[in-house]
């Protein structure tokens, strides 16, 4: 089947006529040590079909046993999403045949999920907050991995045969399902991205998932439908699968809004179907329409017994929750006294944790930011790595800062000391010693250089004498140049004012 290029309407025009309704199903792979229902390791990248037990292959006679950690992680996710936790819930079988599903049913939850009725406040870049209602978060198991061979692109279409690896089969999943999200308007694509980003951040912060989208730890299916402006009845929705990066989520939602709008504009009905997102063409193609083959014949899993939660257990798990990321950011921003722009830059640069650690190690908020957003970010850019991977520890920053504060070195020299430390020349003290980087602190040579600088720029000297103290910078510069930066700029300034008999 060749992909039909769908007509799309411009986004602005779509927004003039329609209100989008969104819905998301986000699958989060938990990072437990073992699988949901077997003691086989939950690992990524092993040799195919080695991280499997008889249970994961669905061999005749096997039975599942629930991983307690996976239940606890699921409850923690529910708590972080402000959900209610079911007092009692059970697993159900979702019956369908597919070669990546070893039993030809998926063990999931149906009627009563472990977590339900939650919400998440999503802050967009400009600070506007949308509340996304969470319908449910339930436990289930992942499928194996199919590789399609013989086709042109490794896609199903045109493949001659497929190979199945069941290492991923049985990896614990939590599926988080939203209620329909209404009212986002033209910000819908942006909200989609921000929502998935928030889920990713939360599960990573909880430590319950590696949350790497490129590895499929967090996967998103996005439902989109449109309502003509002024109406309140939901339209027919499409479900776009395979949107596995934040950028894709935003683009896929935008595309589907435009596509739906074109269909509706042409007076046609949207088909209720699965769509596949293609990052290369930045478009979706039609998957399988809903059919009577989607009769999953759910029934309670007879091989497992109900999970019953007690208030004590839930409170114990609540006690394990770290501070929610959004609250933490708010708290840190206030504590550090950064401006909105400064703080956003820090977050975008991925150095918020590093700055927190550096402050904890003894640096001031300003010094920590100066180092991480300045020198370390510069080096990271050069080396094309993340700032936290440059190799500068919070302790080193504090040590360098102390040397600067003590007047032993200045900022410029500190950078050279850092070079030495990173080159393995020893501690900062040793580097200063070896490289002879200490600030010239004897006033004699400094006074000599100051006199020379004043003589070289008599007009500036005159201005300073006349009270324009800010002009001293030029003299300081001259002195620093003459001493090859090894002077303490603060001391030089003092001596200049002393020499010229003015108050600094």
């Amino acid at each position: 089947m060749t992909a039909v290029t769908d007509e799309i309407l411009s986004f602005d025009e779509a927004m003039e006529k329609y209100d989008p309704v969104l819905g998301f199903e986000v699958h989060v792979e938990l990072n437990t040590k073992t699988k949901m229902f077997s003691a086989a390791p939950n690992v990524f990248g092993d040799e195919p079909n080695t991280a499997v037990s008889p249970v994961d292959l669905g061999l005749p006679g096997v039975l599942p046993v629930v991983n307690k950690a996976a239940v606890e992680y699921s409850i923690m996710i529910g708590l972080a999403l402000n959900c209610k936790i079911a007092e009692s819930c059970f697993f159900a079988r979702k019956n369908y045949f597919y070669p990546d599903t070893p039993k030809n049913f998926q063990t999931s939850q149906y009627e009563d999920p472990i977590c339900y009725d939650g919400y998440l406040d999503i802050e967009l870049e400009d600070g506007e907050v949308f509340r996304v209602e969470i319908e449910r978060a339930h436990m289930e198991e992942d499928a194996g991995k199919l590789t399609h061979m013989g086709g042109a692109t490794g896609r199903i279409q045109g493949a001659e045969y497929s190979l199945v690896d069941y290492n991923r089969a049985g990896v614990p999943l939590v599926e988080i399902v939203t209620k329909p999200i209404v009212g986002a308007g033209s910000r819908a694509p942006e909200l989609a991205r921000a929502y998935v980003a928030a889920i990713r951040e939360i599960v990573k912060n909880l430590g319950v998932s590696d949350a790497r989208m490129e590895r499929g730890n967090v996967r998103c299916d996005a439902n989109v439908s449109l309502m003509p402006k002024g109406t309140t009845e939901f339209g027919i929705r499409s479900e776009t699968k395979n949107v596995n990066s934040l950028r894709s989520v935003e683009r896929a939602v935008r595309f589907e809004i435009q596509r739906h709008a074109a269909v509706l504009d042409a007076g046609q009905k949207v088909t209720q179907e699965t769509r596949h997102w293609h990052e290369d063409t930045r478009s979706t193609t039609s998957g399988r329409p809903k059919s009577d083959a989607d009769d999953y014949r759910y029934f309670p899993e007879p091989d497992l017994v109900p999970v019953v939660t007690t208030p004590e257990w839930i409170e114990e798990l609540r006690g394990r929750l770290p501070e929610p990321p959004a609250e933490r950011r708010k708290r840190l921003k206030a504590a550090w006294g950064y401006s909105d722009a400064e703080f956003r830059d820090v977050v975008n640069a991925g150095v918020m944790d590093a700055i927190e650690d550096t402050i904890a190690a003894g640096a001031s908020a300003a010094v920590a930011r100066k180092w991480w957003m300045g020198e370390i970010s510069r080096r990271a850019k050069e080396a094309e790595v993340d700032p936290v991977d440059v190799g500068v520890s919070p302790e080193l920053i504090v040590e360098l800062d102390k040397l600067v504060q003590a007047g032993k070195i200045n900022d410029k020299l500190a950078r050279q000391v850092l070079d030495g430390v990173l080159a393995g020349e020893g501690t900062p003290e040793e580097v200063i010693e070896k490289r002879g980087l200490a600030v010239v602190s004897d006033d004699g040579p400094l006074l000599e250089a100051i006199d020379a600088a004043l003589a070289a720029q008599p007009d500036v000297a005159e201005k300073i004498r006349g009270g324009k103290v800010q002009a001293a910078g030029a003299i300081v510069g001259g002195v620093m140049k003459a001493t090859r930066g090894q002077a303490d700029a603060g001391r030089v300034r003092e001596l200049i004012f002393e020499r010229l008999g003015v108050q600094g």
Binding site: L59, P60, G61, V65, R297, F299
Partner: protein, 506 residues
């Protein structure tokens, strides 16, 4: 036949312990008996000669060295071919698993190995344990040692026939709706369905997960108790496994006393639908028990009349899902479609069409129907409610009685082929055994005598976790009857070695 094969497992264990006989001799005697009669009986799908003798030799060596050995060490056993075994093929009586070798052992097999019991081989069954006659095996029917023209019951006809034909002193069975008890009934042997969760199901190929139980098959009540003690107990691989200790079941069997025991006669499990001969033997057993000091009370379980219907909705529903895994992708046979496009969907469809027999297909389709959208509440949902009602009936009955009693099956063994084309008539065989599976309570069938020369079984049922009561009551009835008969019922069975070789049985 060697006299060694006539002994009970308990007697063999004593002889082995006393070094009157070696395990190799005992095992070889049974292998010889299999070679002698199984061409007619067809109880075995696989005979495990080499490994059985090797295990027997190990036991003899260990005993000679003075090692302390488990009670049944060296006593051979046959395994229903629904239970997975390393080193022996497991077919479930189905073409779809022909030639499949499990890479893992069922928990009960691990326990059998730890008990140092030589495994004689794998016994025949209705395909995936679906049937009451063993005629639904893809590998030909098993025949009843009492009359080779009749069925040995099902699904565990192979295990029951193997012990009844003295091919094995013990066997393992599985019971979903009566598959241990009904074959015991029609072959004059003993079979026990333990409390649900009492024996691990890990490694028993599932038919209906919430009903299946593994249990012992033997010729005496004490032997079943001894085997039950070997295979019972908690298993962390089975989430429905009970943590209760197994208890002293053999001790219960040796109590030898039913004075003051309240035995409840279930009004709904007798009378109409039960053969006159069956009813007569049942009534005699009641009189014997009364004479021995038991208090006979009548109890009513009005909702049992819905049990068969509920069973034939729950069982196929769970089975339709449990059997989905047999698709020709990971193991077992793969059959390619005769023509048309070669897609995995079509290969699965062709594999399951060719690999499953009619009864399996019938139950899968029935279960698919009962679970499908729009029917779930009316069928599966209603059936699960009936389950609650059946449990309540049991609760009420057990408030009045310590054990319940009924005929195990409404008829004696019928002729091969007699009910093969009438599924509904076949299903009615399970009417007295099914309530126990729905409620999870334990049951035993013990020989109750003959009607027209064919065995009749008497069933005892006990409250959940009170399996010991079955052995107490069962053993007393067994003793009373054997006293009357002058020996075990099976001593009256025809001499199989003299039977003409059945040809074209399959």
């Amino acid at each position: 036949m060697s006299e060694l094969t006539r002994h009970s497992a308990a007697r063999l264990a004593e002889m082995l312990a006393a070094k009157d006989v070696s395990s190799v001799e005992v095992t070889q005697a049974h292998l010889d008996r299999i070679a002698e009669v199984d061409g007619n009986v067809n109880a075995f799908l696989h005979v495990n000669t080499e490994e059985a003798l090797a295990v027997a030799a190990d036991v003899d060596k260990a005993r000679a060295a003075g090692e302390e050995l488990p009670v049944l060490a060296g006593v051979p056993i046959a395994i229903k071919d629904l239970i997975v075994t390393v080193g022996q093929p497991t077919t479930a009586g189905s073409r779809i698993l022909e030639g499949w070798m499990s890479p893992y052992d069922a928990t009960v097999i691990k326990k059998i190995r730890a008990a140092k019991m030589p495994m004689l081989g794998k016994t025949n069954l209705d395909e995936f344990a679906m049937g009451s006659s063993t005629e639904h095996s893809a590998y030909g029917p098993t025949r009843n040692p009492w009359d080779l023209g009749r069925i040995p019951g099902g699904s565990g006809g192979g295990s029951a026939a193997a012990v009844a034909a003295f091919e094995a002193p013990l066997a393992l069975g599985t019971d979903t709706g009566g598959s241990i008890r009904q074959p015991a009934s029609v072959t004059g042997s003993v079979g026990v369905k333990p409390t649900y969760g009492g024996v691990s199901r890990y490694g028993a190929i599932a038919m209906a997960s919430s009903l299946d139980q593994i249990g012992p098959v033997s010729r005496t009540v004490l032997d079943s108790a001894l085997l039950h003690e070997v295979i019972g107990g908690h298993d962390p691989h089975d989430s429905t496994s009970l943590t209760d200790p197994v208890g002293s079941l053999a001790e219960a069997a040796r109590t030898g006393d039913v004075r003051g025991l309240r035995i409840g006669v279930v009004r709904e499990l007798q009378g109409e639908g039960y053969d006159a001969g069956v009813q007569a033997r049942f009534d005699e057993s009641l009189e014997l028990l009364r004479g021995a000091g038991a208090e006979i009370v009548e109890v009513s379980c009005p909702n049992f009349r819905y049990a068969l219907g509920a069973y034939y909705l729950i069982m196929p529903s769970e089975a339709s899902s449990n059997l989905a895994k047999f698709d020709g992708v990971r193991y077992g046979q793969r059959v390619l479609p005769a023509d048309g496009p070669m897609t995995i969907e079509r290969v699965m469809g062709a594999t399951r069409a060719a690999g499953f027999g009619d009864e399996v297909k019938r139950r899968i389709i029935l279960g698919t129907y009962a679970l499908s959208a729009g029917y779930y509440d009316a069928y599966y949902g209603s059936a699960q409610k009936v389950r609650t009602l059946v449990q309540r009936d049991f609760d009420a009955a057990f408030a009045k009685a310590d054990v319940l009693i009924s005929p195990t099956a409404p008829t004696t063994a019928f002729k091969l082929g007699e009910k093969l084309d009438d599924p509904l008539a076949m299903y009615l065989n399970d009417v007295a055994t099914i309530p126990a599976n729905l409620a999870g309570v334990p049951g035993i069938s013990v020989p109750g005598g003959l009607a027209d020369g064919l065995p009749v079984g008497i069933q005892f049922l006990a409250p959940a976790r009170e399996d010991a009561r079955l052995y107490r009551a069962g053993h007393v009835l067994e003793s009373l009857l054997e006293e009357k008969w002058g020996g075990p019922l099976l001593a009256q069975a025809p001499d199989l070695a003299a039977a003409e070789t059945m040809s074209g049985a399959n």
